[in-house]
Every structure is written in structure tokens, then in C-alpha cells.
Amino acid sequence: MPLEFERPILELEEKIRALETTAREQNLDLSEEIGLLKEKLARLEREIFAGLTPWQRVQLARASGRPTTLDVAQGIFEEYVELKGDRAFADDPAVVGGVARLEGRRVVFVGHQKGKTTKENIARNFGMPHPEGYRKAMRLMELADREGLPFLAFIDTPGAYPGISAEERGQAWIIARSIQRMSRLRVPAVAVILGEGGSGGALAIGVGNRVLIMENAWYSVISPESCAAILWHDAKEAERAAAALKLTARDLLSLGVVDRIVPEPGGGAHRNPEAALAELKRALLESLEELDGLDPEALWQDRYRKFRGIGAFEEG
């Protein structure tokens, strides 16, 4: 379903398609009209996207058709194998990962996985992991360390699953462990917020030497809906909360929470996933290159300095 603010763009596109059909079927030369409309379309898209509110970006981050972790794996790796299970309790379909080849170089990757359809989303628990998902992530961090392979993490979750089963198996305990395990990686680690970066469930795989974010992704301490429910006692105030939380890519760059914004094609990543993934691949390769040659100690120091320095306060 299209987003409300996308409607004028989609309507214009529809009009162009109709004209093109007419031109073809009736053998008319409408190229001038079509050319003008295409210019208008480009202008309209630029205008709409230049003025996006934080809440509209949150909607883009959730748009169906936006690349998921497995789309990224399919799109940027020459080959990959998925590894499954946490070797303790279960395989969590909300977290995927494995070993892959990126421009000839082997890497280990992990990421939250949402579904494309309602059925798949239910199977994947809407990308909300249970503790076994984070144990799977930690198992892959072990593998990256042992094999000396760079570690890539793709973040796309509304949050870790807040349910009885997750709580009784120590959801908080396992998230803390995952943060700790990732911070201790002896190999270069790059994290990317693909879509939604919901709270601790996102950060659990977010402790990278470099943290990148897609242009229309969000990352914060709480989802706008939950924030609104707590502060204004009304989830419908989510739009207000989205603005207050400063959760957009540009805000996070100026707060020092992310290092780099990966630009999305006009209309957003869901409208042109191939172009989005090409940009992402370029950014990943450049980030890995920046970290090349750093030994395990230097990588730890780099990560420590980065996260130790985040925060806003006054002395005295």
C-alpha cells in the first residue's frame, strides 16, 4: 500500500504510463508531453523528499518492498550461506546470518529479518528477536573472530520481542551479552541501520567500528509509538514523538551516533532497491577499507573511543 505522501508521485507516474500506452497504441508522438511530465515528476519527487518529516521517514523505513537483510545478502554478496540455530534452544527466524563473499573477500554477516508478506512476517515475528536470535548472532561473532573475518551487521527491528517467552529466557541478559560480545570482536565490525533501529534489540548488533545508516532509516531509544504512549498517553501522538526523538539519519549524524549516511535513490529504497543496494555496497567496502590493517587491539580501542565518547553533558 502506498504511503500517503507518495500519492501525488504515483498518480503522476500513472498518468505518464497512460500517455505512453496511448502513444504506442495510437501511434502518436507524445514525447514532448511525456518529457515535460517526467521533468515535473522528478521535480515533485525532489520537493516531497526534501521536505519529509521525521514521521514520514519512519513510514519509509517500514515501507513494504524496502530491502531486508536477506535482500541485501542476495544483492551485494557474490555468494552466501545461511547458518541456522543458536546451538542451545532454537533457530530464531527473526535473525539471519551466515558467511558470504563480498568483492571476493569472505565476511560473516548477521541481521534482523522481517517478512515481505503478512504470513512471512508472522513467521519472522515482524523482525523482533527472542533471546535465541541474539545467541545466534553471538555464535556468528565467535565464528568471525575465529576465522578472522570482518563482521557485518544489518539492523532492522522495531525492537526485541517484549513477551513472556522472551522475558523468562532472559531477554535483557542476552541483549547485554550480545552488546558485550560484539564490542569485544577482534575483527573489523560494520553495522548498518537498514530500516528500523528500535532500541536495545537493535543496539545488540550495533556495536560496530563504523555505524552506517540508510538515508530514510530511524534509530532511537524507543519507537515513536511507545514513546508517545508513555509521554502523552496516546500512541496517536507518534508523529510528535518521532520529531522529538531526533531519530532521523541526519539528526543521528550530528549527534555522533552514526558515522555515515548511505544515500537512497529518489522515492526511497523500496522504490528502487537495486540502486539502494549499490550505494550500500560501496559504503560497506569503503568502511571495511578504512579498517584494514588495524590489529585486534587497535580495533577494540577504536570501538571503545567511539562509544565512550557518545553523550551530552557539562562538567562542573
Binding site: I164, G170, Q171, A172, I175, A204, G206, Y219, A312
Partner: protein, 284 residues
């Protein structure tokens, strides 16, 4: 004794909050308890064992050896990095809590010996914005860990927190990584870290430094978890089992070492610290 000192101070300071109410009703068993008796009992109901929330100074008085405590927190003050306004602007909210507690943010602590073990003792303050963790709490925890590592001290943290602080957005979230990483300086020096989880400890605090301790103790009946009960109820649309997310339940799940009555907290902490601490410990 440190405890006597504390109670004298509390009585003489006496604010309007404390003087008129001579009796306190236990919210669990309804017993009317004489306030002085309750204080002597460390705010544990003598009838049913209910643990009232207590001020941060109480934990310092309970745990630190007499005259050993030297505060190190309080030099870092919060700002308003997001320009956050909800029902009131964040700076006004902060000012209100600062006035109420006399401290810049939701944490208090410093150097102490505990049963003779050189320690850094940090206590989170639920009375300040629900003990929420923003940049200042994260910074103080990290500095506390660094101090412990630099001076070969054990690290002891008493937690009480609703989680990461919304008003500082992603900066609050990042404190989870910052505090977690700072603990590694303590671990690298083979120094012990002990956490005492009190009511409530949830969200980003539970999901970072609080549950990474070598020893996790919990006060009886404390609510401890990742998501709060209200959120869980909304998610699953059914009532939660009796005692869910309480200390005793977590002990059964293998998530905490011991559930410890506040009246036995000091002796328990001392017993663990003296065995875990690698250095020479003077008899206390």
C-alpha cells in the same frame, strides 16, 4: 555505626515529607508500622517482609564501611541535546528532579571500602526521573568502572531504573554500549563486579551493565526485566502469571544468584566480595 548516622541525619533534616506521618501503612499487607521502627528495619515491613523503596543514601550507609565513603559523582551535569519537550521542556523536568534530590542526575556514588574490600560503590536513584539512564548516568557508570580499574577496586552497583531516558533519544541508547564496554576495564584487571538489583530495574539498564555482573543479587519482590509488564500485556493481550519478572521468579530461571533481604544485604555482599576480590583485604 553508619546506619545510626544516617538516621540521625534523616530525622534532623526532617523535611515536611517525613515529620507528620508517624505511621506507615504497608502497601502489601496493610499493616500499620511505626515509622521509626520501619527505619530501624531498613524499610522492610516487619510483618510481611515487603521492601519499600529507600533513598540512595540508605544503600551507601548499609554497604560502605563506617567513614569509608568518599563521593566522586556529581561533577557531571545533564544538558538538553535534543531540545526535548513533552508535557514540559526537559530542562524544567531536570530542574525539578535536581531540586527534589539535591543531585544533578539519577546516580550517586564514590570510593568506599565494603567489609574492608576497596570498592567503587554506585547507587541509582529511582526518585530522579525514574532512575532513567541518559548521558550523565552512563558517564558516571563508565567513570566509576574506570576508577575501579585504575585503583584496583571492586565495582558494586545498586540499580533502580525504568530504563534508558527517552528525553535524550539515541544518546541514551548508546550509554548501554558505553557502560558495557567500560566494565571490560574492570574485568581486564581481574577485579570483581557485583550488582544489586532493586525495584524496579528494567529496560536499557537491565539490558546492559546491570546483568553483566559476576554476581547478581536481587532484593525480594523487585520487578526486573527487559520490557515492563504493561508493554508485555499489550503485546500478548493476556494477564501475566503471578510473580512474573519478580526476583524470586528470576532466581528460579537461573538469571540471578541470590534474592537477598535488605537486612542481610551487607553481610551477603561482603561475603561475596571478600572471596572474589584478588588483593589483600584487611579484617573489617
Amino acid at each position: 555505626m553508619a546506619l545510626d548516622r544516617l538516621f540521625r541525619r534523616r530525622r534532623t533534616r526532617g523535611g515536611g515529607r517525613e515529620v507528620p506521618e508517624l505511621w506507615v501503612r504497608c502497601p502489601r499487607c496493610d499493616a500499620q508500622v511505626y515509622k521509626r521502627d520501619l527505619e530501624q528495619n531498613l524499610w522492610v515491613c516487619p510483618e510481611c517482609g515487603y521492601h519499600h523503596r529507600v533513598p540512595v543514601e540508605t544503600y551507601v550507609a548499609v554497604l560502605a564501611d563506617p567513614d569509608s565513603f568518599e563521593p566522586t559523582t556529581g561533577k557531571v551535569r545533564p544538558t538538553d541535546p535534543l531540545g526535548f519537550v513533552d508535557t514540559e521542556p526537559y530542562p524544567e523536568r531536570l530542574a525539578r528532579y535536581q531540586q527534589k534530590t539535591g543531585r544533578p542526575d539519577a546516580i550517586y556514588g564514590g570510593r568506599a571500602t565494603i567489609g574492608g574490600v576497596p570498592s567503587v560503590l554506585l547507587v541509582m536513584d529511582y526518585a530522579f526521573a525514574g532512575g532513567s539512564m541518559g548521558s550523565v548516568v552512563g558517564e558516571e557508570i563508565a567513570r566509576g568502572a574506570e576508577l575501579a580499574a585504575a585503583e584496583n577496586r571492586a565495582l558494586v552497583i545498586v540499580t533502580a531504573s525504568g530504563g534508558a531516558r527517552m528525553q535524550e533519544g539515541a544518546l541514551s541508547l548508546m550509554q548501554m554500549a558505553k557502560t558495557t564496554m567500560a566494565l571490560d576495564l574492570v574485568f581486564a584487571k581481574r577485579l570483581p563486579y557485583l550488582a544489586v538489583l532493586t525495584d524496579p530495574t528494567t529496560g536499557g539498564v537491565t539490558a546492559s551493565f546491570a546483568t553483566l555482573a559476576d554476581v547478581i543479587l536481587a532484593e525480594p519482590g523487585a520487578l526486573i526485566g527487559f520490557a515492563g509488564p504493561r508493554v508485555i500485556k499489550q503485546t500478548i493481550r493476556q494477564d501475566l502469571p503471578e510473580g512474573f519478572q519478580r526476583s524470586e521468579f528470576l532466581k528460579k530461571q537461573g538469571l540471578v544468584d541470590e534474592v537477598v533481604d535488605r537486612r542481610r544485604l551487607r553481610e551477603t555482599v561482603v561475603r561475596f566480595l571478600r572471596l572474589l576480590y584478588p588483593g589483600e583485604v584487611d579484617a573489617a
